[in-house]
């Protein structure tokens, strides 16, 4: 834009020549420029004012239209004080595999007060304290006489208490009906069920929220009205579960153990028929979680799923099975077993010295650390890691418990050759008893991977094939030999042909290294060996027993007799017939064996 200079030289010179005041020219130019400026501003402003006017008109019209649409719509029924989504009652029941109830709902009442409606606040408080001695009288009086309009007094009351409160007769005391969760079997299967608490609470109903176990894992399903009240059927068998817990509890006390766990699993379907962790609790009245100390000492801790332990010699069968599968050895191959075995700066010891060499079968039967380490050396760390991964040892189990993801196996930082040897005999890799149950099921069912599950489903899992059937059979035969002539000889339950492997793992100190006198004693077994149906994993924590003049801590003395008792009790419940070596003569009396079809 070309602008006239405020003092155009030519005109000023002219004006001077004419004797006029040249400042007048400047003033004239300033005036003209100012006018031009204002004119431009005015034109801009004109357009922009129009724009503002139109915008405002549009905005007013918008508000008007919105008012119109709102006015034309029908109002929703106002829900005073209860705007949250309606609380769904009727949480589905949980049953065992036979349909026996494990968890159900019970109608109960909550007690609350509306202090403005109370006729005699102090007298009512006195009477309430008589009915509920745990209430604080002063607190109650303060709540009733203060500014509060609503006071919860009790979340659950019994019918007798309901009647007693009703008899007080104060109109300000009100009852809120609701359902509570009830576990009629008490502590049976406590860790599987977990527990529930009240979630959102209204006056007319309260939401039940699962806090642990299957209650939490299936919380959405249990609440889903689309299921139309169908119960959640678990794979647990209530009778077997009860028997298992009873024997385990007795065994734990007898063997002076501080904790115990057991898993009984169907080898084909992966169904967990019974699972226990001791000490346990009553899900009707869950204890508070520990605020300090080790969470694994709490009764809430599920040792079978959450607890990861070095499971010791029970792992040896995996090394041997893999070596058999790879064709590196056969059951009669002789393995050097001189103890101690020196590898670099490490020494591997055996419980006894088993001489210069052992057959592969005897490595398992005698539970030789050195022999297993030699076999693992043949396999190598990569193949071992791969195999244990296929067995499920590298990830948490996928069982349907909210705690399952916390049962994450602890793996060595570096899967070196020496780690692979120690893992071969069960040290350096920590896994849960449930991991072990799934892996033993793979051997027992002829080599297919199974995922442990708590939901009843009788179909066989056709999982990935990890071992050939021939290998699985040979491994089973070795485990049978462990029971007939090896470390688990107390486990030979007559009629049920138990096969298995013991493991007595020195417990890891939290500060590093191993305790000399604390052992996790485990028996991992399957029965009947001719056609395995079930796997039982039973662990006793820090068990010891004084037998034959010695304090014994090895699994053969502690876990195996308890496991044998479990099998003796539960096998008939599971519908297994005793077979095989039924003696014809017992204590000198000729037994009459009934033939099928005859009397």
């Amino acid at each position: 834009m070309i602008r006239t200079p405020l003092r155009p030289l030519a005109r000023i010179l002219d004006a001077r020549a004419r004797g006029e005041n040249p400042d007048a020219i400047e003033r004239e130019n300033i005036r003209l420029r100012g006018e031009a400026l204002r004119e431009r501003a005015r034109t801009t402003a004109e357009g922009r004012l129009l724009m503002m006017g139109v915008l405002f008109l549009a905005a007013f019209v918008t508000v008007g239209l919105r008012m119109g649409t709102l006015a034309a719509s029908t109002p929703e029924e106002p829900q005073l004080g209860d705007s949250a989504p309606a609380i769904l009652a009727q949480r589905a029941d949980i049953t065992d595999r036979e349909g026996r109830v494990l968890a159900t709902n019970l109608v109960t009442h909550a007690l609350y007060a509306q202090p403005p409606m109370l006729v005699d606040p102090v007298g009512t408080a006195d009477k309430l304290v008589k009915i509920f001695p745990d209430l604080n009288h002063d607190r109650l009086v303060k709540d009733f006489t203060g500014a509060r309009k609503f006071v919860w007094i009790k979340k659950k009351i019994s019918p007798e208490q309901l009647q007693a409160v009703h008899d007080i007769g104060d109109p300000g005391l009100l009852f809120g009906p609701r359902e509570m969760r009830l576990y009629p079997n008490g502590s049976v299967a406590a860790h599987v069920l977990g527990g529930a608490r009240f979630g959102a609470e209204g006056v007319n109903s309260a939401e039940i929220v699962g806090v642990a176990g299957v209650e939490k894992a299936f919380d959405g399903w249990l609440r889903d009205p689309a299921n139309k009240g169908a119960p959640l059927q678990l794979s647990i068998d209530l009778t077997v579960q009860a028997a298992l817990e009873e024997v385990l509890d007795g065994g734990m006390k007898l063997m002076d153990a501080k904790g115990a766990s057991a898993v009984l699993m169907d080898v084909h379907t992966g169904e967990i028929v019974a699972m226990a962790s001791l000490p346990d609790f009553d899900p009707n009245d869950r204890p508070a979680p520990l605020t300090k100390g080790d969470a694994s000492d709490s009764p809430l801790f599920n040792r079978a799923v959450q607890g990861v332990y070095e499971l010791g010699s029970t792992f040896k069968i995996f090394a041997v099975a893999q070596a058999l599968e790879l064709g590196l050895v056969n059951p009669t191959t002789m393995i050097p077993s001189q103890s101690p075995m020196i590898f670099g700066r490490f020494r591997i010891h055996d419980f006894h010295n088993y001489g210069p060499q052992l057959s592969v079968t005897d490595v398992i039967v005698e539970s030789s650390n050195v022999g297993t380490a030699r076999i693992v050396q043949m396999i190598g760390p990569e193949r071992q890691k791969d195999f244990l991964g296929k067995m499920g040892f590298l990830a948490p189990t996928s069982v349907e418990l909210s705690e399952a993801p916390t049962g994450r196996p602890i793996l060595p930082a570096k899967w070196s050759e020496i780690s692979s040897m120690t893992i071969g005999y069960g040290h350096g890799l920590s896994a849960s008893p449930l991991h072990l149950a799934a892996a033993y099921s793979t051997i027992a069912n002829g080599g297919r991977r199974v995922e442990p599950t708590l939901v009843h489903d009788p179909r066989h899992q056709e999982g990935e094939r990890v071992l050939s059937e021939a290998t699985a059979k040979r491994a089973l035969a070795m485990m049978r030999a462990v029971v007939t002539r090896g470390t688990a000889s107390f486990g030979d339950v007559r009629g049920y042909q138990v096969a298995g492997k013991t493991g007595s793992a020195d417990k890891v100190k939290p500060t590093g290294g191993y305790y000399k006198d604390k052992v996790m004693a485990t028996f991992a077994g399957t029965f009947p060996v001719t056609d395995p149906k079930y796997v039982l994993i039973l662990s006793l924590d820090e068990a010891s027993t004084f037998v034959a003049g010695e304090n014994r801590r090895t699994a053969g003395w502690t876990a195996v007799p308890v496991a044998a008792e479990v099998i003796r009790r539960v096998a008939p419940l599971l519908g297994l017939r005793p077979e095989g070596n039924t003696p014809d003569v017992l204590d000198g009396i000729q037994l009459v064996v009934a033939k099928a079809g005859s009397h």
Binding site: L49, F56, F60
Partner: protein, 387 residues
């Protein structure tokens, strides 16, 4: 002789004030404003009764109070509307400085009435909210600054007005009173826009405002809760918005009947921020539409009249006042119909509030004074055209 040219406004020497006022005032806007006040009184009869009952006063205590303050406001408005633009500027600037000093003194002599923000100065029988009075004064002084920038070699008025705006906005935000702060910022932006702001700068300012809002959202829990309430798709019927929406729906087209509404009993702010909900419930959509139309008349007519205005100060100050008035009404009603997040803002001249109604009267007085018909140099246009 030149006064006989067609289309010019006759200016008669020695004409008395009142006839000239009546001849030049925007009668449409004036009537709309008076009607708005009438509607406000009508609604006050319904909406302020629950408050009076709650405070143990006679039912129409607040109506009478509002009538008193409203009359003061209307008298102030009429008197001010008789002033010339120069007088408006003088009074506005003086008023601005008083209000400004009062705001600065708030931390010392102010009170918060237990509402969490120090906004009021209490005199016992009545209380004053200085920020209400600051707004019209601020518009006047900012317009004066900007108009000065229209002169050749004039002062950098836009910069001055901007600095002043920032200072006041910060001051108000510290109270905290984000509503008034955003109104001040908005009226400045309108004036700057009218004064010929470069477009890219406007976009930048819009961006900064968004950033400021984000900051407020993150820093103030009070603010964040309101925004969250707006963004959630479901209306919680226990919130103010929920009650307001329900009231509008209950009212329908013709209302539930005078005095039959229920929303005023549930809403704590029924007589101020949500008075439109009371109007919608008791008198229906019809009254709401009338109210909207009245506001639209005041704002749009003023803006259109200002389009012809040649004096930059009058144009800017007038548009700033009109837009602040209009946007306040828009925000109030937009909140009630949930077009905007909940922000406590009164419906000017309709809501209950002594400070509010007197300050609105003053602001509208300024606006009416500035939109009066004046000779606009049409004569020179005609002469220039003839050349």
């Amino acid at each position: 002789m030149t006064e006989m040219v067609f289309g010019t406004v006759p200016v008669r020497a020695g004409e008395p004030v009142l006839p000239r006022w009546w001849r030049t005032i925007d009668k449409w806007a004036l009537s709309a404003i008076l009607m708005l006040f009438g509607v406000g009184m009508l609604l006050g009869l319904a909406a302020s009764v629950p408050l009076a009952e709650k405070n143990g006063l006679e039912p129409f205590y607040y109506v009478k109070r509002q009538a008193f303050f409203g009359s003061l406001g209307i008298i102030a408005m009429l008197l001010i509307s008789m002033l010339s633009p120069t007088q408006v500027r003088r009074i506005g600037v003086i008023g601005f400085f008083f209000a400004f000093l009062a705001i600065l003194a708030l931390p010392v002599i102010g009170t918060d009435f237990g509402k969490g923000a120090v906004r009021w100065i209490s005199f016992g029988f009545a209380s004053v909210q200085p920020s209400e009075f600051l707004k019209p004064g601020f518009v006047i002084i900012a317009a004066w600054f900007m108009a000065a920038a229209h002169e050749v070699a004039g002062p950098p008025g836009r910069l001055y007005s901007f600095l002043l705006t920032v200072f006041i906005v910060v001051l108000l935000a510290l109270q905290p009173d984000f509503g008034q702060a955003s109104l001040v910022l908005f009226s400045w932006m309108v004036m700057y826009f009218i004064a010929g702001a470069p477009i890219f700068l406007l976009t930048g300012i819009a961006g900064l405002t968004a950033a400021g809002g984000l900051f407020a959202y993150n820093m103030s829990e009070h603010f964040a809760r309101r925004i969250n309430g707006f963004l959630s798709t479901e209306i919680d019927p226990r919130t103010q918005i929920g009650y307001a929406t329900n009231a509008i729906q209950e009212g329908g087209f013709f209302g539930v009947g005078v005095g039959e509404g229920t929303v005023k009993w549930s809403l704590p702010d029924a007589h101020t921020d949500f008075i439109i909900a009371v109007a919608a419930e008791e008198y229906g959509l019809i009254l709401v539409m009338i109210i909207i139309a009245l506001y639209a008349i005041v704002v749009v007519r003023s803006l259109l009249r200002l389009m012809r205005e040649r004096d930059p100060f009058t144009r800017l100050a007038g548009s700033g006042l009109a837009c602040a008035f209009g946007v306040q009404a828009l925000i109030n009603m937009g909140v009630a119909v949930r077009l905007l997040p909940a922000k406590g803002m009164t419906l000017p001249f309709v809501s209950y509030g002594g400070s509010s109604v007197i300050a609105s009267g003053i602001a509208l007085g300024f606006l009416l004074a500035l939109t009066r018909t004046r000779p606009q140099g049409e004569l020179s246009d005609i002469l220039a055209r003839r050349k």
